[in-house]
Amino acid sequence: MSDDRNKLTVSRRGLMKGSVVAGAALATPTFFTKGAYAATFRNDPTNSPTVTFGFNVPQTGAYADEGADELRAYKLAVKHINGEGDGGMLNTMKPLALEGNGVLGKKVEFVTGDTQTKSDAARASAKRMIEKDGVIMFSGGSSSGVAIAQQSLAQEMGVVFMCGLTHSNDTTGKDKRRYGFRHFFNAYMSGAALGPVLKDEYGTERRAYHLTADYTWGWTQEESIKNTTEALGWETVAAVRTPLGAGDFSQYITPVLNSGADVLILNHYGKDMVNSLTQAVQFGLRDKMVNGKQFEIIVPLYSRLMAQGAGENVKGILGSTNWHWSLQDEGSMAFVKSFGAEYGFPPSQAAHTCYVQTILYANACQMAGSFAPPQTIRALEDFEFDGMGNGPTLYRGADHQCFKKVLVVRGNENPTSQFDLLEVVKEVPAEAVTYDPAIFGGELGPYEVS
């Protein structure tokens, strides 16, 4: 009896010891193989006449409109890189390494995927691109949660991810990655740009009520806007979280009426913003006088596509945006012209950022003279460029965030066309929205991954 028990304990201990030893033995080779990375990298296109980019955008869900426009921009960027069409921003970008014959002499091809605005689906689709289609870079956006999920996948797989539209501070803050880059502005910059305008327009004694999309972007935007408005002297009455893609916001808007707030801040984007804004206006919020002041609505992150969706309701509403097609600089005009010629209408800010990101990546490969991610990443870090629609821009190496002008816009009271929905109130210079990368924490991680 006791013998049996003895046997059992010995064998169990033996098993545990054995498995630890086996684990250590199996792990050993990985320490030695890591150094071999520089020579080879995933999906090395050296022996192929073409390189493949992957464009992973939401084709269904709350951000589908944005996704469709992003895809148009990606296709246009590939055309221009390959030397087809009128060249768009390749004519205005400075400094430019691309020669209009693809990247490093290789023609660019692309594959597409649907993120469904879900992290899981986005990563599955990205993995398909990386494992099956052999993409050297992938890009896409519209939800920060999805962008962050793909960015960490990029780091794991060792393939560069160029973020499309993502506005959360976390993307280049606490969740930043060496293999992820963002051209788009972020919530902090929105707050910094909007602050002075809000003070001029609405004064310093306001009571704000936030409705916030309940995920990383909403949280950070709420935080940034709150910091800005509270610094102005505004009071925050409440900040209510709403699920992404809720559709019906009436249950969230009714309490606003009785809260004593005189400003409603909608931290919503895409179809969510279209729905919440439309419902807020239908509930008569904007016709009310509260605390002796006109009730106002603010949409910190604006886009022309959303304005189109919300129609009449956006008139007079303030917000910020990364770029707008009515800008009169050389780069913007070149881009609007070639996009318009291709598709018959002006591009959205989502299209702009995706287009620019694709060109920037291709240009970085050309500058580095290699597709190896560590070299490309180093070429992009602290890269300074101009002629891409936002004035002189810096791709900061410390957090992979671009610093450039931010636009404060207002819903146009008298639109002259169905696209002329936003008027630019102010172009806030880059210095006014620049911040110390340390405030958001996070770590980029290594250049070389196994």
Binding site: T60, G113, R123, A124, E131, A149, S152, D214, T216, G445
Partner: protein, 382 residues
């Protein structure tokens, strides 16, 4: 154990398992012509195969249609990611932890939901799963990280790992004693688990317990009148089924260490119902076929765009090619749901037994070509 003549011998089971294992393990080879031979999709085939097998143990055998099975999948994923965060990047504890937590969760939900049968049971499970989903998005965000999804971070405790090795520069990857669980090793790991899961399912199908479950399906009231208490058996089946879903969830986290609440959404629960019915509920292999088909559609069909179509139909004359591409394009790309829906309707209307019934009819046609169409009504297994 009582043996009745209808229970086949061990040899036949071994033969089934050998064929099955060979088919699963050689998937990277025979999937290549379909453009599906890449690790991520193969992993999904295996993982959702396990999910569907588990669902079929409940629905196929007892006839209880759970509309909330994705909740267990999600719970398994979260548990596995927490195991990575708290203890070790080794996958075995994650598998055990994920399965266990999902099973416990199944005890809770099963205890409540199994008080009712039929449509009421379905609605109860649906409601409870949707409740879990909404909780994952709201009050449970400290555990689930909400919409952003639960991810690994640099400063997770990982207590067991850090006793042996120092923190590296980047995020660690999931491993089986040093063997990284991404790419093909990850697939083979999932494949082995799938084979084990299939064997368990096979044993349950052919055991007296399985027979009792089928008896519950055919007439629960009569079972009750014969003095047989069905509730414990149902609960046990429900727990096993939930455990399988948790296992699948933990495998999802192993091949990609991120867990999002959308895994628990009702659409995900609906998907496994589709898989099982599409393949053939109550059959052993059917749910696997259904899972494979749906994942194939989701990953491959959804990526087709006009240029791929033009390539496929390039052999046609120019004018005709454009017409064909125009006609086909609404059904691929974003339209893959449409194709799936149409296929589902066709199968439910003409082949109520799913793909398996189709295969059976085909094999009968081949064997007796003359008797072909004038066959007697189908007898369905289960």
């Amino acid at each position: 154990m009582p043996t009745t003549p209808s229970f086949p011998k061990l040899q036949s089971e071994l033969a089934i398992m050998a064929v099955f294992a060979a088919a699963v393990l050689t998937m990277p080879l025979w999937m290549a012509p379909f453009g599906a031979a890449y690790p991520d999709l193969l992993q999904k085939f295996a993982i959702y195969g396990i999910f569907a097998i588990g669902f079929n143990l409940l629905f196929g055998l007892t006839g209880y249609l759970s509309f909330g099975h994705a909740a267990f999948l999600g719970v398994g994923s979260y548990a596995a990611v927490w195991s990575f965060k708290l203890f070790t990047m080794n996958v075995l504890p994650a598998v055990v932890f994920g399965t266990l937590v999902a099973s416990l969760f199944a005890v809770l939900i099963g205890f409540v939901a199994l008080r009712r049968a039929g449509i009421y049971f379905s609605i109860l499970t649906l409601a409870l799963a949707q409740m879990s989903y909404n909780m994952a998005y709201s009050v449970l965000t400290p555990i689930t990280n909400g919409e952003t999804g639960l991810q690994l971070t640099q400063n997770d405790p990982r207590m067991i790992d850090h006793m042996f090795v120092d923190r590296g520069a980047g995020l660690p990857s999931t491993n089986l004693f040093g063997l990284e669980m991404s790419g093909y090793p990850g697939f083979y790991f999932c494949a082995v688990v799938l084979i084990i899961a299939f064997f368990i399912s096979l044993r349950i199908f052919r055991s007296p317990f399985g027979l009792k479950l089928r008896a519950i399906k055919s007439n629960q009231t009569r079972m009750g009148y014969t003095g047989f208490n069905t509730r414990p058996h149902l609960l046990f089946a429900f727990i096993i089924s939930g455990g399988f879903a948790g296992l699948a969830g933990s495998l999802l986290a192993i091949t990609d260490p991120l867990a999002g609440a959308e895994r628990m959404q009702w659409t995900a629960s609906g998907e496994v119902v589709l898989m099982t019915i599409l393949g053939g509920a109550g059959t052993l292999v059917g749910p696997l076929l259904g899972a494979g088909l749906i994942k194939y559609f989701e990953n491959i069909f959804s990526a087709f765009n006009d240029s791929t179509l033009h390539e496929i139909f390039a052999f046609l004359p120019d004018g005709l090619e454009s017409v064909v591409v125009f006609l086909v394009s609404p059904f691929v790309g974003e339209g893959w749901h449409l194709t799936l829906g149409a296929l589902f309707m066709v199968i439910v209307i003409f082949l109520p037994g799913g793909i398996m019934e189709g295969l059976r009819r085909l094999s009968r046609l081949v064997r007796r070509p003359s008797a072909g169409r004038a066959d007697q009504p189908q007898t369905q297994e289960g």
